[in-house]
């Protein structure tokens, strides 16, 4: 970094430090500007720069550099985030360049999961843009000796009458302006938005992606870099007892064979252990690995059998290990009722299977380790590496590459720590590559879940609702011997929205024998499948139309405060004022999906529609699926997806998320299943762990509802949960057969 630049920044900082401007509640003061200043390719930056926020720089060359602190994994966040900042800035879109941030606390959370990038940062990003616009306009006013109110930013220039000047020409003077307080900021009204809500913004990274030039984690190249693959213990907790190091070393190109440190409980984001083969290229490393012939020690998990385990879960729902919601006297009512209806549902363990398997590179120098990784959370990568080696997080510099899909897998940093460990051991840069087998055998799986719902009925009215489930949970990776689910019940169980007076939600125990994590939409998958299937079953049981029965169960339009309904509800970290749990909107979403799909139409024999709706990540999504019977088998031919996510920043990318969610949901409904025998996973590539292919993909219709809500909900995950129940409900409508256990491939209908 040049001297001039430091001075320029310091002078600017001197002027703003006193104001201690906070950009959003979770964000630190802009007065704290660390050495690297967020711009990963800082050296491209000209020497003087206007840096009104950690998310934004304006250079004298008239470039607007928007710092993307969230990971790009297909949701289009680099484009969408830039749209928000550039809109409030009144920049010209052609002057915008996105720079990927390093891992750094100054940005607030960089944990790119929970469908939270826009939801969590929308206001902060708008304020960053508006702050810069304010300072540019005041700079122009100072330059021209005009009233600030007469100077207006528009399309990359500040105008006063016919006079105008570019942002770049104003950058240095803007940097000397007083930083406005929040109350001085003029945020746009939605009718003034030019980029936010614009469906034709394209993708800033399209050319890089379509020419093969986009650099993903697996594409990292560093001088003198070696490539490593790791033979990991097939059973969690096993350790290598014996292996043929010499045979691996005989493979031309193999550089070294290194035993990884043993795993300590809780597993967290530590490497799994095993034996690494490091080579000059990937193929040599893979060949060397195939010669290791590792013998493994016994493990406590050697006897884990997922089929037996699934049977035990059905018994464990009886054990109320934890109570998640209790209102009224559901148990007594059900016990004493002469009209009850009980059904049970099972969703097995699921793998993320991003197309790019986990990959990270590390370069360990004397006192700093530099990492390039396809990570959803560079701050967690810093922490995981620092914890493993007893160094400070500040000593871990994490560059975020493009991610070839994430879906939650790349929130877990084990692969990053592996790369750091090997680089430290070998004293050279090392890239760790996971094969597809590694990815599927050693995932942090979405946990299997068995769920049973019972209602007590008075006519078609539900007087008591009891939802019980059993299965392991995410906290098993963080706390030794943690059993069952806990906070997962916030994702579709305790927030059951029906107007029922007596409710009981409990969960049984569930010990973990493998690593469990979170997969796109997390526990909403199992809860939405159970509730969405159950409502359909109950409707048919009562001779009611499922869509109309959904509306009846949802009850009057109202905003639910779950503290009055026998539970504490986390609402995805949002307050209920800005992000109410609004039953009217759930119903509106459902109605629109029913209208779009012409629900109630007379279909040819062998066809049927299924419907479901689910609120998650503060957005509502309804799904209608159309199934068609073909002999003993059936397929989904068409899917309608309707989303109410409040303000939508990038409609084209949100629609793409819905298209993808329909396919993701169909994949898991048809095929999704990881099983374990003798402690080891059985599915190790795309033949065993199938994903939907083009020839099986139905027509997909998507629609976004806009009711003028100023707040954006989540969009990456909420599309997934309602798909599997809508699919099974459609199969029932088409075939008269009900499937309560996923995947459908096991049921000989697919």
């Amino acid at each position: 970094m040049s001297q001039v630049k430091c001075i320029s920044r310091r002078r600017w900082l001197a002027g703003v430090a006193k104001t201690s401007l906070l950009l959003g509640a979770s964000l630190p003061s802009v007065g704290y500007v660390p050495r690297v200043l967020g711009a990963e390719d800082d050296k491209e930056s000209p020497e003087q720069v206007f840096t009104p926020s950690v998310y934004l720089e304006i250079n004298v060359d008239n470039r607007v550099r928007i710092i993307c602190h969230r990971s790009e994994m297909g949701q289009g966040i680099r484009t969408s985030l830039a749209m928000v900042v550039a809109d409030e800035l009144n920049a010209d879109w052609s002057q915008v360049k996105v720079v990927q941030a390093l891992g750094d606390k100054k940005y607030g959370s960089q944990n790119t999961d929970g469908s939270n990038s826009i939801r969590g940062f929308y206001t902060a990003l708008r304020e960053a843009g508006a702050t810069a616009r304010h300072m540019l306009e005041h700079a122009a006013a100072q330059l021209w000796k005009f009233e600030p109110a007469s100077c207006r930013a528009r399309e990359g220039r500040v105008w006063a009458g016919d006079r105008s000047i570019s942002f770049g020409e104003l950058a240095q003077l803007a940097a000397t302006q007083k930083v406005p307080g929040k109350e001085q900021l003029e945020l746009k009204t939605p009718n003034k938005f030019r980029f936010i809500g614009n469906a034709n913004m394209g993708n800033l990274d399209a050319t890089a992606m379509l020419t093969g030039r986009a650099v993903y984690g697996i594409d990292t190249v560093l001088p003198e870099m070696a490539v490593a693959v790791i033979e990991r213990p097939p059973v969690l907790g096993a350790q290598p007892v014996k292996y043929d190091r010499e045979a691996a070393l005989k493979i031309p190109g193999v550089i070294d064979v290194i035993e990884m440190p043993p795993l300590k409980h809780p597993v967290r984001f530590q490497p799994l252990g095993g034996v690494a083969v490091v080579a000059a290229n990937t193929w040599a490393a893979m060949q060397g690995r195939s010669k290791l012939n590792v013998q493994w020690s016994a493990s406590d998990n050697d006897h884990f059998d997922s089929a037996e385990y699934a049977k035990s879960l059905k018994l464990d729902v009886d054990k109320a290990h934890r109570t998640h919601r209790q209102k009224g006297e559901a148990s007594q009512l059900i016990e004493n009722s002469d009209s009850t209806f009980t059904r049970g549902y099972y969703v097995p363990a699921l793998a993320h299977a991003p197309m790019e398997p986990p990959s990270a590179s590390a370069d360990w120098r004397a006192d700093v380790v530099e990492v390039w990784a396809a990570t959803q959370n560079p701050q967690a990568a810093q922490k995981a590496v620092a914890d493993q080696f007893g160094i400070n997080e500040a000593q871990v510099k994490v560059h975020v590459t493009f991610l070839g899909g994430g879906f939650g897998r790349k929130s877990k940093q084990d692969f990053v720590v592996e790369a750091a460990y090997l680089s430290k051991a070998l004293k050279r840069p090392v890239k760790v590559i996971w094969s597809r087998e590694d990815d599927l055998l050693f995932d942090y799986y979405q946990a299997p879940t068995y769920q049973e719902i019972t209602t007590a009925l008075s006519g078609t009215e539900i007087t008591a609702w009891r939802h019980r489930e059993a299965g392991p949970g995410i906290q098993s990776i963080f706390k030794p011997d943690f059993s069952g689910i806990q906070f997962e019940s916030n994702m579709g169980m305790r927030d059951m929205p029906f107007a029922v007076e007596n409710v009981l939600c409990t969960s049984g125990p569930g010990k973990a024998h493998v690593r469990y994590g979170w997969l796109r939409s997390v526990a909403n998958i199992g809860h939405a499948f159970s509730i969405g299937s159950y409502v359909d079953e109950l409707a048919h049981h009562l001779g009611r139309d499922p869509y109309h029965y959904w509306l009846e169960l949802l009850g009057p339009d109202r905003q639910i405060d779950f503290t009055e309904q026998g539970t504490e509800y986390f609402n995805y970290g949002e307050n209920l004022k800005d992000y109410p749990f609004d039953v009217g909107r759930i119903k509106g979403t459902l109605r629109r999906a029913a209208d779009l799909s012409d629900w109630g139409q007379k279909l040819p024999k062998g066809q049927g529609l299924g419907i479901s709706v689910h609120r998650s990540f503060c957005s509502n999504v309804a799904c209608v699926a159309m199934a068609e019977k073909n002999g003993e088998r059936a397929r989904i031919k068409k899917i309608w997806m309707v989303m109410d996510a409040g303000t939508v920043v990038n409609p084209d990318r949100v629609k793409a998320q819905l298209e993808g969610a329909a396919i993701f949901g169909l994949s898991l409904a048809y095929y999704g299943e990881i099983t374990h025998e003798k402690g080891a996973a059985k599915q190790n590539n795309f033949d065993g762990y199938r994903l939907l292919r083009m020839d099986e993909t139905p027509e997909i219709v998507t629609e976004l509802i806009d009711i003028g809500d100023p707040f954006p909900g989540g969009v990456g995950e909420p599309g997934v949960p309602p798909v599997a129940p809508a699919v099974c409900n459609a199969f029932f409508a088409a075939t008269g057969r009900r499937w309560r256990e996923l995947p459908l491939r096991r049921q000989e209908i697919i």
């Binding site: 297909g74 379509l210 020419t211 093969g212 986009a214 197309m355 993808g660 292919r693």
Partner: protein, 154 residues
């Protein structure tokens, strides 16, 4: 010594002849657009053209391509101007983008042999390529657009 052509350029290789072309392209020739997805020819992320036909480079040993001609995504165009790339951009097909180089190589090979593919033709040609993000509907539309664009070019 094995000799072959990649994107019109002569290459020779004297290492392990059983190395799959994928790893030659990525690790030796530094052509990173060809992606690793499964190593078993199951997902299509590594699709390249061998004498104009779509093949999976992860299961194709270098020794099998002696004297033959390979095209990778880098050989489609330098500037995303190939009709397939233009159609992909127009319809904003890519989500994470990782599988798209392989998808486009399969699509380009299809369109070389079939200038007006039906839905079935497209399904047959493309069902070896997995996209976990779920971009299939847009890919299908983009292939039809690319077919139109290719005709315009002529």
């Amino acid at each position: 010594m094995i000799k072959f052509e990649v994107n019109g350029k002569e290459h020779s290789y004297s290492g392990d002849a059983s190395m799959p072309l994928l790893w030659f392209l990525r690790d030796i020739a530094d052509l990173k657009g060809t992606k690793f997805g499964c190593g078993k020819g199951l997902c299509g992320a590594c699709t390249v053209h061998l004498n104009g036909q779509a093949v999976r480079s992860c299961t194709l040993p270098v020794q099998a391509i002696e004297g033959q001609s390979i095209t990778t995504v880098e050989g489609l165009s330098d500037d995303a101007s190939h009709p397939v790339q233009r159609a992909w951009q127009e319809l904003n097909v890519a989500q994470c983008g990782y599988c798209q180089c392989g998808q486009m190589m399969s699509a380009a090979a299809l369109l070389q042999n079939n200038q007006a593919p039906s839905d079935d033709d497209i399904n047959n040609a493309m069902s070896g390529n997995i996209c976990r993000c779920g971009t299939y509907p847009r890919i299908k539309t983009a292939i039809k657009l690319a077919a139109d664009l290719a005709v315009e070019v002529k």
